[in-house]
Homo-oligomer: 237 residues x 2
Amino acid sequence: MSKHTHSCEHCHHQSCARRVPIFSSLDDDELSWVSSLITTKKYSKGELIIMEGSNPESLIIVNKGKVKAFKDTQEGKEQILYIFTEGDFLGEKNLLSQQKATYNVETLEETHICLINKKDFQQLLREYPDISFKIMSELCNRLERLENTIENMGAKKIEARVSSVLLEFLDKYGKHHAKGTLVELPLSREGIASYIGVARETVSRKMSRLQDEGVIRVIGNKKVIILDKEALEREIQ
Amino acid sequence: MSKHTHSCEHCHHQSCARRVPIFSSLDDDELSWVSSLITTKKYSKGELIIMEGSNPESLIIVNKGKVKAFKDTQEGKEQILYIFTEGDFLGEKNLLSQQKATYNVETLEETHICLINKKDFQQLLREYPDISFKIMSELCNRLERLENTIENMGAKKIEARVSSVLLEFLDKYGKHHAKGTLVELPLSREGIASYIGVARETVSRKMSRLQDEGVIRVIGNKKVIILDKEALEREIQ
DNA sequence: CGGGCACTTGATAGTAATCAAGTCCGGTGG
DNA sequence: CCACCGGACTTGATTACTATCAAGTGCCCG
């Protein structure tokens, strides 16, 4: 057994490593070793974790909470690119290519992260090629999501973009509910707007319309019940 | 020396393998071996290489020519996602994740491609981890390009999108010229339009305006001289 | 030289951004 | 506990921009 298995100060990390898809091919001993490499950090809501142009020296894994990755444009707008949640990793660009961060990352709620040092991470990759495969696979998934986003933004009506986001949030954050699926929105109206590239008023209007049509039910600013998932899927086609 | 080094039927492939960034860490012997795994194929302009939903069983490397990767929407529009040129690989999604093709790929001119069988490719990855690193690095680059595209489409004016494309083409296809840089456009106006997500008439108008302002000079339908690169960069900011 | 196709240019209409009030809700302090 | 305050959201009116529709125009190729 690894000498790290019973190291109490790392016990709470192991669950982190165990939950992360990129380490899913490792056995208990290996996970213990990985856990020993991890340090943790906690952030409260609204803190900036990574700043565009900086040079993070570690792989970051989200252990609890949510963060948004976004770019600031000179026109004063904000374009949200990703929302990362439990199990997602980030900062890989700085470790795999030799690049500076190309976007900001900010917490959307209280968030705990795990950090793996650049050298340790690179050693892991060499020792366990399966981790590389997992990462490549995840990078392909991200590419696919971005490709779909581009298709939405370039070739589809705004109705379709709103429906897409709602379905995406439904998949990620939906919970069963009497008449449909209850979704806790990770973003404000303004956040949704800068995620799909429209004005915040437009999001309000489209969501109001969807409510009038009986497709969704809006509960305050942070919750939505999806009553008719198929209708949303029809909007996207 | 590898027994393949003097195998004439593979000589013309070796240059392909040698030119490809993902194999740049291999030595001559290893390259010869890779070359022996490669088969080639030629396409004329306008042929469909990959169809959305199909399941390509090989990694494809562009050896000569250009191809476009695009999605067809139900609204009848086409969204172009990538233009791949000499040295670029594609089809990785089907080999790294277990996914079907999520976009169509069509040649923009006469194109020669190299094919590496799925099993051979996976063996290569296991034997030479550096190839995995190169691929991860390239995937990160693609992510970054898509992230920038999304920023353009979501948060920037159309002027900026046109300027972005022109600068992108300038980087990839520009050649020195008396008064600026001559760029052979890989896409028609309609192609450019579906690359940046606007109507083809809008591309015409914006380019006319840029010509009136003395920033570019349009020569027929397929060439442009960039006279004032800085002006384009200012449009993007 | 003629035909066709891609492109340009102009006119119009539709849609979303912007500007501008309100409204709702949660939190705070009296 | 209630009243007030501020921030986020909704809704309405107007403006600006681009898509669409509709003629031309020019260029390439046979």
